[in-house]
Amino acid sequence: MTDWSHLVDLEKCTVSPRVFVDEEVYRDEQERIFGRCWLYLAHESQLPNPGDFVTHYMGEESVLVCRTASGKIRVFLNSCRHRGARMCRLDAGNAKAFTCPYHGWTYDNQGRLIGVPQFKEAYYEELNREDWGLIEVPRVESFRGLIFACFDENAQSLDAYLGDMKWYLDLIFNKTEGGMVVLPGLHRWNLGGNWKLAAEQFNGDNYHTGAAHESMLKIGLGPANGKFLGDRPWVRDFEAKLENGHGWINFKIDMAGGVPAPLAHHMEQIQAAARQRLTPAQSELVGCVHVGNVFPNFSILTFLGFLTIRVWHPRGPYNMEAYSWAMIEQEAPPEVVEIARKMQILTFSPSGIFEQDDGEMWGNSVKALRGIHRRNFPLNYQMGAGHGRTDPDKPGLIHPPSTEIGIFGVYEQWQALMGGA
């Protein structure tokens, strides 16, 4: 196996452009990153009943996520064992069995091959159906309703993998009794850019907001102080570099135009509920803007009452496909759900007036980096290096925005996985 660890320089905090544009690197990532890390699949609220299923991707692999009769979630490659055809072409539904459209092999939602056309006449009943069940993804675990799966059966538990990230995820997913629920529908779109550029931005890039989102400030739909930053550095306005390449951005902003009254009221209630459930240090942070990434490619962003959770699926070094859902507290009244949903659509959807700018940058980077000469000159991730601190109140290595301490953690983790061993 090729050792790619030289592409990240831990001393200088630099990253080679080849990390983003090299076809061989990309191919090896599929095995060493997407084949070994926990990958986000679905939220349990999308599969409430036995027989419910959703289809999704793990890296480039199409998978079928099933709620079985016993209530267990099982995940299978969405590919027939006979000729490999994509079994299920639907986004979601409820089914006891899946029939391949090509030759009609049929599997139950526990992956067992239960039907083979002409089993007697053509196979002489000699096919051992037990050997030809769907290929199962060996590890499936959940945290606060978030279902993840992993191709590596020897991987550490999801709990250990998330590590300190759980403390921060609880600010969103454990702040109320009912938790978060997924709204119907999915934003799904293609973007130029390497998947890591999106992941690193959600991990810890507050620095881009002034330039990339300058248009928002110009039309007055940004923060009242003109910065995507609050006034309590280290305490409430900070970034956290977390173990295993995860990262979190936290800050409070006052919007120039204020927020609609029902949303303001709802957020007060949520903060009160959170104080009953979370530690005092956590409760202080509820209601802030939270942006984060679970390595490798599961990102979250909550802002003005909405929560988008998304996966950046790799589609070659130069492209990705985004899946983004909208979530909200189960307790939110319909009026508040509508305010939040419309805000997410306006800001962070394929037509979103923030989203468009981000996507443009990721595409720009790979276009400019792919040249054979440019890729010899490293990219700079030095901002704030050495200036992070630990904090007794919260986990991780902390630094106020802007810093690249957390972002570089993505590449430290990347390097650890992309060595030759």
């Binding site: 072409r89 639907l90 986004d91 979601a92 539904g93 709204l183 119907p184 529908g185 999915l186 934003h187 799904r188 779109w189 293609n190 973007l191 130029g192 990339a212 300058e214 248009s215 928002m216 110009k218 039309i219 739909l221 496909e321 859902w325 909208a326 319909p334 759900v337 509508e338 949903r341 419309k342 997410q344 659509i345 306006l346 959807s349 394929p350 037509s351 007036i353 989203e355 468009q356 700018d357 996507g359 443009e360 940058m361």
Partner: protein
């Protein structure tokens, strides 16, 4: 009740209006385009999925959408394009709207008409990334002071996986 001649006249009237609207969009006259909408406009484009026949329910509450705008948010989108910093439209894309299949679906008195039309929007971005957006629209137009204004635009995009949407339909 409208007779066939009235209906044809009305259809011609809306064909002209929809061609004019496309011309405004293609020629970056977005402020004039905004004037075609009432202050109570709902400009709405729900997401499309891959579901079993009959299970796609576009009227379900809280369904995600590619647009669910009112006059204020549509106006913000236009203002943003004018800042010179809306990077996904800098430099501006070359776009062309094609409108066809115009039908009068319904009338509600002489001053309210429901009109459907199909569209194709071609976008050539920057060095040549080219996209085609295809779909149909169902509009409710209302005659106010002798001028037709759009008070509800439902956009059905025929796409599941999209590209970023920097254009209007």
């Amino acid at each position: 009740m409208m007779d066939a001649a009235d209906r044809t006249r009305l259809r011609h009237e809306f064909e002209e209006l929809l061609y004019y609207e496309a011309w405004l969009l293609d020629n970056d006259k977005l402020e004039e385009w905004l004037e075609l909408f009432t202050d109570t406009i709902r400009y709405w484009a729900p997401v499309r999925g891959n579901l079993e026949p009959g299970r796609e329910d576009l009227s379900q509450p809280h369904l995600l959408a590619h647009f669910d705008d009112d006059k204020t948010s549509l106006t913000l989108r236009v203002k943003r394009l004018r800042t010179g910093a809306a990077h996904a439209e800098e430099p501006r894309s070359r776009i062309r709207h094609f409108v066809s299949n115009v039908q009068i679906l319904e009338t509600d008195g002489p001053d309210r008409v429901k009109v459907s039309s199909n569209f194709q929007v071609f976008r050539s971005r920057w060095e040549g990334t080219e996209h085609l957006f295809v779909g149909c629209r169902e509009d409710w137009w209302r005659r106010i002071d002798n001028t037709w204004r759009n008070e509800e635009r439902f956009i059905l995009l025929d796409h599941n996986v999209l590209e970023n949407i920097t254009v209007f339909f």
